[in-house]
């Protein structure tokens, strides 16, 4: 199955934050940063769901 492309709409400030994060070595480029965010966010929610099945909100 072909990849699904989602087009994020981001302003220059949001891109600046992403680029500074990338410059710190977190991910090689913007799209990779989004995919990393997705993987880690989903993994955290999955772990939470096991612990608290009715609460998908992050614990702050």
């Amino acid at each position: 199955m072909a990849d699904t492309v989602i087009k994020l709409r981001l302003n220059q400030q949001q891109l600046e934050l992403m680029d500074r994060t990338i410059a710190n070595g977190v991910a090689p480029d913007r799209a990779a940063l989004v995919r990393l965010a997705l993987r880690e966010y989903a993994a955290a929610r999955k772990a939470e769901t096991k612990a608290k099945p009715n609460d998908l909100e992050p614990v702050r």
Binding site: K7, L10, L38, R45
Partner: protein, 311 residues
């Protein structure tokens, strides 16, 4: 450890307030004489009264009940730590409630004149040339408050005893203005007006060593950074015909960032995306996810509050 040196003592009588020049490195102790008395408190940069304590910022950083180990911050764009709460024997103060005012006592109780925190503050601040409009949102010491399940703030009686105190350490030269809360027909001070004792100490090295470091940032601007550094000296507002807006980072420009998701990634996204908020707008949901993740992974302080190094 060396002893603190007493520099000034004053009994704050019911119905009164007092402006105190509290210099950097000095401690103001506000102490219960009989117990059960709320103190309202204002604070200004002694050298620039336009910098003043900001309860809104303080409550965001430290919550509704600032106590030992927290700071009192000045308003944007200064946003500097003005005071540090070095000691607090009770641990129940308030930055939710506004100061009580003459309006409250007239509207709710029918008083033509009644002691009230706004007017007491204004009268105390007049000693330093300030006007009633300069009184700002109050830090309410010893005031016992909370928020009910419907989101309304409430106050209850307090349990403070004689000798309970809060020590405020000045991190800059300030005009500190405590006053005896004027509320004797409310629960604030257990339905009576009582004195409070004020003591100013010179902080010891040990006191100063207890203050956590706070960040120094470019965004903490002072009048030298303002496009208009001149304090307006008349009351009417008139448009400046030469005004040209210079809002930062404008115009806001939108860029599209295509992100290709594999089948597995798409499944993960579909499992967590916030359709309750974004419906079918996957781009908005993925943007939310991106910055929610960023907050979780990188943001050190609650609600965007300044980071503070722990002791």
């Amino acid at each position: 450890m060396s002893e603190r040196r007493v520099l000034f003592e004053h009994i704050l009588e019911p119905g009164t307030g007092k402006g105190i020049e509290l210099l950097k490195g000095q401690i103001l102790r506000i102490e219960q004489v009989e117990g059960g008395q709320c103190a309202d408190f204002n604070c200004f940069n002694l050298h620039d009264y336009k910098e003043f304590m900001h309860c809104g910022r303080t409550r965001t950083v430290h919550g509704f009940h600032p106590s030992k180990g927290t700071f009192m911050w000045s308003a944007p764009p200064r946003e500097r730590a003005m005071l540090y709460i070095l000691e607090d024997t009770v641990g129940r103060n308030d930055v939710l409630f506004p100061r009580c005012s003459a309006y409250v006592y007239e509207a709710s109780y029918g008083f033509a004149v009644h002691t009230n925190c706004h007017d007491i503050q204004a009268e105390a601040q007049r000693e330093y040339g300030l006007t009633p409009d300069d009184v700002h949102d109050s830090f309410n010491l010893f005031m016992c408050t909370g928020v009910d399940q419907d989101g309304h703030a409430y106050m209850t009686r307090q349990t403070t005893k004689a000798g309970d105190y809060v020590d405020l350490l000045a991190l800059m030269d300030v005009l500190a203005v405590p006053n005896i809360c004027g509320a004797d027909v409310m629960r604030t001070s257990n339905f009576a007006l009582k004195p409070l004792k004020l003591t100013v100490f010179a902080a010891t090295e040990a006191d100063l060593a207890r203050v956590p470091k706070t960040p120094t940032l470019k965004s903490q601007r002072t009048p030298k950074d303002f496009r208009n550094p001149t304090i307006k000296s008349d009351r009417p507002l008139r448009r400046d015909p030469a005004y040209k807006p210079e809002f930062p980072n404008t115009p806001i420009r939108i860029t599209e960032l295509p992100v290709a998701l594999s089948e597995e990634e798409l499944a993960a996204f579909n499992a967590v995306k916030r359709t309750d908020i974004y419906g079918e707008d996957d781009a908005a949901a993925l943007r939310d996810l991106l910055f929610s993740w960023w907050e979780e992974r990188f943001l050190q302080a609650h609600a965007g509050a300044p980071s503070i190094e722990s002791e």
